[in-house]
């Protein structure tokens, strides 16, 4: 508490262009599920399982954003997840961004570093957190777990506001490495719904259903020395509609592995739309479908191929300092090749209800109820029924301070 008050007193002089943000959560969690969290190697889809019911301090977020020159901007985001990751605090994003001041209707942007490709329509807050709910949708949970572009991105947008047009249209391309193990989580555990982002140097335990078992994944590694890419389009209508489509391909060579892990070939198409309506209503819909494959095969596509898709609809309404959000989603994975060795078939749906309130400039409260009904075929391997209904209730008091 002492450091909080020290920071608070120093807030008076902090008015330069360099922004430091600290955010800490005080959480009460109550889960109802017979499965252990994937965080401890289980086949449950929640971040906090029933064995962790109670109070938690954290996660802690530290964020810096500020100018390097007039047109270069640096930002760094780190989380302390408080769940015995390899590093007690670790980076989730680190970006050097080129933002020249527009001098015409064409607007250029470039990013260098480790960042999220533009997929999520809901993770718009500091630290890539959702503005609407605590837990991200299955799609964006997975992006936060397994996807990070470590490379460069170029964005060109034709803006409309300066010309009396009501829309902007833009394109984005990215090239990156170090995203080769991507696919291992969705194959072994399937989709999940939570707000834990994998850190750049973080580690997740092997998900084999046996808590505490050996083995772990590091997701942001270069294994096959092949460059991946993504390309996308974005359309914006006034401040009312944003629509995006993106194709992502890590161009992994599934035949190649190093001492720890195979390279996975992972590709997806992501579509999203966000609509703002009068009366402070927000509608968000996203869909992602793709496949991932691993292992040696004659056709080079791997001896194990998993196809996956998910979609969701989120409805949110703000009432002054209050916000109510509801999200319904469906998700699915199917093993298309190699099911005799490992059949990771998942089917599920989830409903999330969240109430959020800004108590003051620094305190925000969130109550979130989540119910996930899923079938994961290889839960049988650990003596569980494939079908499970997991639900959780979280109460979060979030303190944040920007200097």
């Amino acid at each position: 508490m002492l450091w909080v008050s020290t920071l608070f007193t120093s807030a008076c002089w902090a008015s330069g262009p360099h922004e430091f943000t600290a955010q800490i959560d005080l959480r009460l969690t109550a889960a109802d599920s017979s499965l252990s969290s994937f965080r401890s190697g289980g086949l449950g889809l929640l971040r906090y399982d029933a064995s962790q019911n109670g109070a938690h301090i954290g996660p802690l977020l530290l964020d810096y954003s500020g100018p390097v020159t007039d047109t270069l901007r640096a930002s760094v985001t780190a989380f302390a997840t408080g769940d015995a990751d390899k590093n007690p605090i670790d980076l989730t994003e680190a970006i050097l961004e080129w933002r020249p001041v527009p001098v015409s209707l064409l607007r250029w942007r470039a990013r260098l570093g480790a960042f999220y490709p533009p997929v999520s329509m809901e993770n718009r807050g500091i630290g890539w957190q959702s503005l609407y709910t605590l837990s991200s949708s299955a799609i964006n949970t997975w992006i936060g777990e397994e996807v990070r572009a470590i490379g460069a991105e170029l964005n060109l947008t034709a803006t409309g506001a300066g010309s009396g047009r009501s829309f902007d249209i833009g394109g984005v391309v990215g090239v990156y490495g170090w995203n080769d193990p991507m696919g291992v989580l969705i194959q072994k555990r399937g989709w999940a719904i939570h707000d834990r982002q994998t850190a750049l140097f973080g580690r997740l335990p092997d998900i084999n259903g046996i808590p505490g078992a050996d083995g772990s994944y590091e997701l942001f590694r270069e294994i096959d020395h092949r460059i991946g890419y993504y390309g996308g389009l974005e359309f914006t209508y006034l401040d009312r509609v944003v629509a995006r489509a993106l194709h992502y391909d890590n161009r992994g060579d599934p035949a190649i592995h190093d001492s720890q892990e195979y390279a996975w070939l992972s590709r997806f198409n992501a579509y999203g739309v966000r609509i703002e309506l009068p009366g402070a209503w927000t509608l968000i819909a996203q869909r992602l479908d793709g496949d991932t494959s691993v292992g040696v095969s004659a056709d080079g596509r791997g001896n194990h191929i998993l196809a996956y898709w998910s979609d969701f609809l989120l409805v949110s309404k703000a009432f002054g300092r209050h916000r109510l959000s509801a999200r319904y989603e469906q998700f699915h994975t199917t093993t298309e090749r190699g099911a005799t060795r490992f059949d990771s078939h998942q089917d599920g749906e989830a409903l999330t209800l969240a109430y959020r309130m800004d108590l003051s400039d620094h305190w925000q409260m969130t109550v979130e109820g989540l119910r996930v009904n899923s079938t994961l075929r290889h839960r049988l391997r650990i003596g569980e029924l494939p079908n499970a209904v997991e639900s959780s209730l979280q109460l979060v008091a979030r303190y944040s301070l920007t200097l």
């Binding site: 262009p17 933002r99 001041v101 500091i126 010309s163 925000q364 920007t402």
Partner: protein
């Protein structure tokens, strides 16, 4: 209460001013083609012909404020006389980088919080579209009027322009919902003495929907 106070002070002003120089006044209400009021739209009365010489540029006045609150420009539409200065304080806890590449005024203010930059001069009449280079969704408008006689419609689409010297004026309108960047010439009017003219303007053609439905977004980064 406010309108009563406003009317009272207006009466007081008229009582003081009337015996000296008779001044005319224009009340206008703007609607779209479906008769729905159009707010945040600027009305400019530009003197024509001989009365043009009567146009006295407003004496150096304190800078006008275009604030930034909750990642929005406040006001969303600002109308100023040609030659006025505008300050761009930032009332948010996050930094903004305000710029414009409109022909009427090109400028950029380096990334800042609080009040960092000297006021900006607006010498050319016309429309200045403001952006923030950090928050691409932030859009604001400054209309630099070529005449000191102007006003902006309120939520009911109404505007009142007072203290008008006798003469002939071109009535022009511009608002962020207009599809064209140039102000729209509505009509010519001639005012004598203490005329009190009322205009009901129906804007032809379709208008863009209003910006700003997304509202305040605390904690927004992207």
């Amino acid at each position: 209460m406010r309108s009563v106070a406003f009317t009272t002070s207006l009466v007081a002003v008229l009582l003081l001013a009337a015996p000296l120089v008779p001044a005319a006044e224009l009340r206008a209400s703007l609607t779209d083609r479906d008769l729905v009021p159009v707010s945040d739209t600027v009305l400019i009365l530009s003197p024509v012909g001989e009365s043009r010489s009567a146009t006295i540029p407003r004496a150096a006045s304190p800078p006008v404020v275009m604030d930034q609150v909750n990642m929005q420009f406040e006001p969303a539409v600002l109308v100023i006389p040609q030659g006025a200065k505008v300050t761009f304080p930032n009332s948010d806890s996050v930094a903004h980088q305000v710029y414009s590449f409109s022909p009427a005024k090109r400028f950029a203010l380096g990334l800042y919080r609080g009040v960092r930059h000297a006021p900006v001069d607006f010498e050319q009449p016309g429309l200045v579209v403001l952006g923030c280079n950090i928050h691409d969704f932030m859009i604001g408008y400054i209309v630099v009027a070529d005449s000191p006689y102007f006003g902006k419609t309120n939520g009911a689409g109404e505007v009142q322009i007072t203290d008008l010297p006798a003469g002939t004026y071109t009535v022009k309108a511009w608002g962020p919902r207009f599809k064209d960047k140039e102000a729209r010439v509505l009509q010519k009017i001639t005012l004598r003495g203490d005329d009190k003219l009322t205009l009901n303007v129906k804007l032809e053609g379709s208008l863009l929907p209003v910006r700003g439905v997304a509202g305040k977004m605390k904690g927004l980064r992207y």
